[in-house]
Amino acid sequence: MRRSLAEVDEGELLRRIARRDRRAFDELYRRTSPWLTVRLRRRCADPDVVADVLQETYLAVWRSAGSQAHASAGGSALGWLWTIAAHRLVDAFRHRARQQRVPTVPTFETVAPAAEEEALAGGIDADLEQALLALPPELRQVLRAMVLDGLTTRETSLLLGMPEGTVKTRARRARIALRRALS
């Protein structure tokens, strides 16, 4: 008896997409595009850029699913999805920076953590969380782009609109500050 599509994991969806299964592709879109959109919108305030990046990302998924299903047999389909989207986002920033139409990166005020958020989602622990909050926002921004989003220093410099040397300096300062805070 065939499992319903809802029970299939994203890796298997990718394998089906590689076999030109349009329903699997639509299901992948349904499941992952909200997550991707929300994440992208926290890096780019321009909704048109976000829409373009989304469209290009999923078209790239459709076209190259065959190679990807083969290459990342153990890896995460979502990690791959994010990597494609992040690179397309950086490309959009690169293109528009040249034409002075720089999409803005939304900067949010640091809000004090609410009491009910103490037991956090897996991935970082309380010490790291405190240390991150203690960092100045510009250092945190660079760290997020490099560590969480997986960008290189060059890509980070394009995304955040600062020279690469500044990115590196801030990354080093963040590292030192974190090490000090965590020791």
Partner: protein, 267 residues
Amino acid sequence: MMRAVSAAEIAPTTHAWAVHAEKLVVRAGRHLAVNGLDLALDTGVHGLLGPNGAGKTTLMRALATVVKPAGGRLSVLGVDVTGRGDLRRMRRGLGYLPQHFGFYPRFTVREFVEYMAWLKEMPKSDIPGAVQRAIDRVGLTDRADSRMKTLSGGMLRRAGIAQAIVNDPRVLLLDEPTVGLDPEQRLDFRELLRDIGSDSCVLVSTHLVEDVAAACTDVVLVNAGRLVWQGTTAELAGRGGADAAGDSATERGYSALLRAHRGQVSA
């Protein structure tokens, strides 16, 4: 997923120039094709102009580490190419499209670019996404899975450009990349070059002065293996007097500078 950032990655860059040549001498056969060339290139799109036999291709090959220079000093991305520098690490940041681009006819475009990405030691899981991105950037999306022997000259050239940019190189060397491209494709290519030039060092060797004028921030003029002149395209256009040969300001500047150099050399 969280990525570990190595100390080496965020260490300050120690080299001042992406490409730095001092009195470079490179042989082509027995002939000294590059003979005492000084060159310093950084981020941006640099056009390499010069008459046939000026040593452009040999210079490109030396920068791409295909041939070892016979004399002088050459450092690419801070690595001394003339001495015993670590070529492997530096080559990961290189992209090269030779003038005579050899390919495997039975490979599809995608397979070829994937193979080149593997040869450039890109992380395996990054390769499919990077290959699709490179193919999209050069406009070969529709032919990504056609065999290379079925492609026209212009498409082959673009496939060559795709393999050169797949690893997001910091130094991109393109030898006659617009051969076979129709005017619209050349426009798209110039847009691509400008994008890439915003954060890498691109050196484009071309016969077409107009390509240079449109896409390049900087022009390097070589003749007889030596540097004749380096400056912006605006400055080049300003160098042509009324009596210089050429249909555009850039062409006039080019021929004026060349004539002056030949006069100096023969004097």
